[in-house]
Amino acid sequence: MQDLLDKHLDEDISRTLKFETTLTPKQKAAAWERLQARVQEQTQLPPLEEPCQPELVRFRWLERITAFRVGSTKLLHTLVMDSAAFERAGTPKSLFPCHYYDIHGRWTHLSIIAMSA
């Protein structure tokens, strides 16, 4: 029953809107005449410029690739070449109370401080 009422309502709305908004060929012709006159007084706007240049995009990609390469190299170097981190991890701290980490993060003997001081 509700579906039937909904259908009737839809039909009423559709019919009313379509009936009430008719346009005669005469009205349309008059509108075209008017539009032609107004269009001739108006100039077209130029196309919008591209917001992003292709060169700039390529440059950004190059920059990202370079940053990734440098970062990977540093990480590899730290893991493979620099043994300080492994030494620190492998050495029991209680056996070497006079050792400490210097400003470069390296495991250093206390005497070095005395020498440098």
Binding site: T16, L35, V39, Q44
Partner: protein, 198 residues
Amino acid sequence: MTLIEDVSDAHLIERLRANELDALGSLFDRYYTQVYRTAVAITRDNAVAEDIAQDCFLKLHQYAHRIDVSLPLAPWLYRVTVNLSYTWISRRQKRKISLEALVDHLMSPPWTAPDQQAEHNETQNQVRQAISELHFNQRVVVVLHYLCSLSLEEIAEILDCPVGTVKSRLYYARENLRRRLDDADRIQEVAHGYAGLT
């Protein structure tokens, strides 16, 4: 000879960019009626709807270089029509008009010729009045859905809002219309003295 129907909108816009008025004429033939009818249904004013439709095609000419020809043209035209209608309605609401003029506007038959008026039945008058009382957002959705036969997805694209919002507006618009039409029926029954006889 090439028929107008055979030429794509994109091709006509390309020609319009070269300032060919024939191309504008073809687009006018193709879309003017839809644009005008949408504007009439939203604004309820013939003269204003004509102005809005004119402005819509003027913008088409003016912005020809900036229109994306890979997309269909109809949603762009509907969007401009809805925006121009909204601007007109909000300006009218801000304008101070006398109560008498307002009553005249509401009571007068808004968009019909005198010979058509005789053919109106009571239901159409009620529906027309109920639609005109809807909130702008609901009215636009109703017009685009029932007059232009657009899907919810297409309306969402035109109004630049989620499909759920369109669905909700359409639902509440129909509920409002149903309630108003029921009220109008009840008033009529009372006026004719057969309320409660069933």
